[in-house]
């Protein structure tokens, strides 16, 4: 079990402003399950996309069976025997299970028609191997999420690959299905298939993994044998940097009144029985892994998605049927994690972007007073130090940090008393990050209630007055800011300790 079949040497991949992979090296042996572990944004998914030809590395080499390879397209990697099950579903919902499994590789008769008997037979054989009871003729859209995940697995297996990459395969599966998956992985191992397994769930790594490599900030921190590594060590490797940052908030400025009260909110399988509150003048953080339900919670509060049950009060008033307009009327503001998609009209000037959410309050007559609009825009430019010579400049020309400030200005111009920040500093440089942290602090001091979602733990620890940790759609822990460590938060978020 020791011959190396895949070796990755000194891979570097840079995106504008981010070094996603920095000299990453790692190797895969025949028949092993090699776990890749790391925080959100550590570079795991980027590395996998390099291995499967979706991204092309800036430098570094990939050796397959000792031979150097370059993959131009996903097809090339497939041909070389590398299959991947992506985290996001890559199925066509309107096609059947069998059609999806062999999509792009349909068995054909000599006349050029699809050999449907063979298609069904082959699909059934793979599904049987996986011991799942799915009708190969069923349309994928009629299946539950867990079954869809298994169809993805079937699709990857049908390629007859030597190397199988699984990106968070258990995220949507129940315990029983996870056991089936693990059985499948073991029988694949016996057949000599090597598996790269990406997961956040610390408990399962030692059950299924042979070796574990930890990535952090685009670098490989180290590789350990799964058998003899302690959970604490892994967590320390993941978090790493002993960055003891000064807390920005020295005094808790929270007041009596509530900015947000959520009781027993549930939404399908995404959110389960969630009760949280935010006081005015308080900074509350939602910590947790990607997919734990943090953004979904914020969206359910803001009325972007419908909740199944539970109540939401914003600034003391019940919002029985939430809609963004109703929430804004209650002085709530929402800064989405993808500001380009949901936060800004990129092709419009800074001036109009700033007044977009508050047109009714700023111009009660219903007529936009350009002079007033410009004055307000300039005011916020100076106050938030948005670096631009002219508020008539289109937002698309600003840097990420300045764009984020424009979004913030938009909500400040409506006199929001409760603000949700979803990943407020993602993808922006250190200087602007610092400034935005200070602004959040100032806002809280002035009495605004703040709910912040962040995957950046140091950020959470410098700003939060209180922390809710989410896992799998539930609030698993409420923590005060005193004396908590990153390791503690991670442990709750990953289920490394009993919540």
């Amino acid at each position: 079990m020791s011959d190396t079949i895949l070796e990755v040497r000194n891979i570097c991949k840079e995106f504008p402003g981010v070094k996603a992979l920095d000299n990453v090296s790692f190797d895969l042996r025949r028949g092993e399950v090699h776990v890749l572990l790391g925080e959100n944004g550590a570079g795991k998914s980027t590395l996998m996309k390099v291995l499967t030809g979706v991204y092309h590395p800036d430098s570094g080499e990939i050796y397959l069976h000792g031979k150097q390879m370059t993959f131009q397209t996903p097809r090339d990697a497939q041909k070389a025997g590398i299959a991947i099950i992506f985290q996001e579903f890559n199925l066509a919902p309107n096609l059947t299970v069998a059609q999806n499994i062999y999509l792009g590789r349909e068995p054909c008769t000599r006349a050029g028609f699809i050999d449907r008997a063979k298609l069904l037979q082959d699909s059934q054989r793979i599904l049987d191997f996986l011991k799942v009871d799915i009708d190969p003729n069923a349309k994928v859209e009629t299946l539950g999420i867990a079954h869809q995940q298994l169809v993805e697995l079937a699709k990857a297996l049908s390629i007859d690959s030597e190397i199988l990459i699984m990106d968070e395969p258990t995220a949507t599966l129940s315990d029983r299905e996870i056991n089936t998956l693990f059985d499948t992985i073991r029988s694949l191992q016996e057949r000599g298939v090597s598996i790269i397994y990406i997961s956040h769930r610390l408990q399962e790594l030692r059950v299924i993994g042979n070796r574990i490599t930890v990535l952090r900030d685009g670098q490989s921190v180290g590789t350990r044998n799964a058998g003899d590594v302690a959970m604490d060590d892994l967590i320390r490797m993941m978090v790493g940097r002993e960055l003891k940052k000064e807390r920005i908030r020295s005094v808790n400025t929270s007041r009596e009144e509530y900015a947000l009260e959520v009781e027993n909110l549930s939404q399908g399988k995404l959110l389960r029985d969630i009760s949280i509150y935010v006081r005015k003048g308080e900074v509350v953080c939602l910590a947790g892994l990607v997919g734990s339900g943090r953004t979904e919670l914020a969206q359910a509060i803001y009325g972007i998605t419908r909740r199944d049950s539970g109540s939401v009060r914003i600034c003391g008033r019940d919002i029985p049927r939430p809609l963004p307009t109703r929430c804004i009327r209650q002085k709530m503001g929402f800064m989405s994690e993808s500001r380009k998609e949901f936060g800004l009209a990129l092709n419009l000037p800074i001036r109009t972007n700033i007044t977009h959410a508050g047109l009714k309050t700023i111009f009660p007559s219903g007529i936009v007073d350009l002079r007033k609009e410009r004055r307000i825009a300039k005011e916020f430019r100076d106050k938030l130090r948005i670096v631009t010579p002219d508020v008539e400049r289109n937002v698309i020309n600003l840097s990420g940090g300045n764009q984020q400030k424009v979004v913030l200005a938009k909500w400040l111009s409506t006199d929001s008393e409760f603000l949700v920040f979803d990943e407020p500093t993602r993808g922006i440089d250190v200087g602007a990050k610092e400034e935005i942290h200070n602004m959040i602090h100032d806002l809280a001091t002035q009495g605004v209630g703040i709910l912040m979602i962040s995957s950046d733990l140091p950020e959470v620890l410098t700003l939060a007055d209180r922390i809710y940790v989410m896992r799998e759609g539930r609030i698993v822990k409420e923590l005060g800011y005193e004396g908590i460590t990153q390791e503690e938060v991670i442990a709750y978020a990953t289920g490394g300790v009993a919540g």
Binding site: P74, L91, A92, N94, G112
Partner: protein
Amino acid sequence: MNAKSGRRRVQAVLKRVPMTLFLLLGIILVFSLLTGPAKYLKLSNVMNVINQCASGVGILALGSFLAICSTGVDLSLGGIASLSGMLTAKLLSWAPAPIGPALLLVLAIFVALAAGAVMGSLNGLILSRTNIPSFIITLGVSKICETLSRVIAGGTTIRVNGHAAFEFIGSGSLLSVQQTTMKGARVITRSIGILPVSVLIMLALYVLFSLLMRRTPFGTYVYAIGGNYEAAELSGIDTTRTRFRVFLLGGLLAAVTGIIMTSRLTAASAANGLGMEFDGIAAAVVGGAAMTGGRSTPWRTFIGALTISVLRNGFSMIEMLPAMQMIAIGLVLIIVVAIDAARNRR
């Protein structure tokens, strides 16, 4: 087998019957009540509707369906039909012709189809080389076709006289029945074709495209592109080539429509075929296609095309003004899509 599972099987069968079929039957019922069943459902009118479908939206709607199924839209189909119909007429009215009439007919049909293929490929080529939405590309190509058609026509209607073999395509029938009607004191005997050639061509094309969509990799890829574009790409499907073929086939189908149209009218004017792309889109959508792609089938589109033809015929039967007909068809389209959207939300 107990009663419960029996009922479930009935439900399963009912589920496979497209809603549009009930809509179509409902519309036929309403019209036959409005105009009197004897007048409305008599053979000549029924064949009239089917013929209008074959020389109108019927074949072209397949092209609309293909484009919509692969998340695009083809607004050039009417223009291509117009251009191909015009080319056919122009060539057939070539006098004195340097070649015999049979050869001339073959040449005319070949040129018309080639024009459709060229224009369809132009759509596909621009789509594969640029990021311009198909809505814009096909709108532009439509204008090109329209103008070419006008230039060829030279401001008049081009008539095709005395070409029996050509007229057979649009007006001929393999089997006819005699029908006698009383008009006052006179007895009128008319021959009604019950196996019209154009209708047979249309049905053959529907059989062909149904096979293409269900039984070949190409069809699967079109559905896959409509269902999840990224998944299709990551599965190694050549999405560029597939979409190119979709628009190429659309151009060919529009050309066939143009030839049949000219044959039926024994004349071509530059205005023929204009706006037909909207009937095609309406037919595809009424048949169950979603503008987001990946839905519906050729046969459902056929029911949609029949529905549009029945509506047009019915509105003329009750002597509704043409402008009012457009309003009524527009309303039906919106209602169908609204019902569909409401059903999908659940």
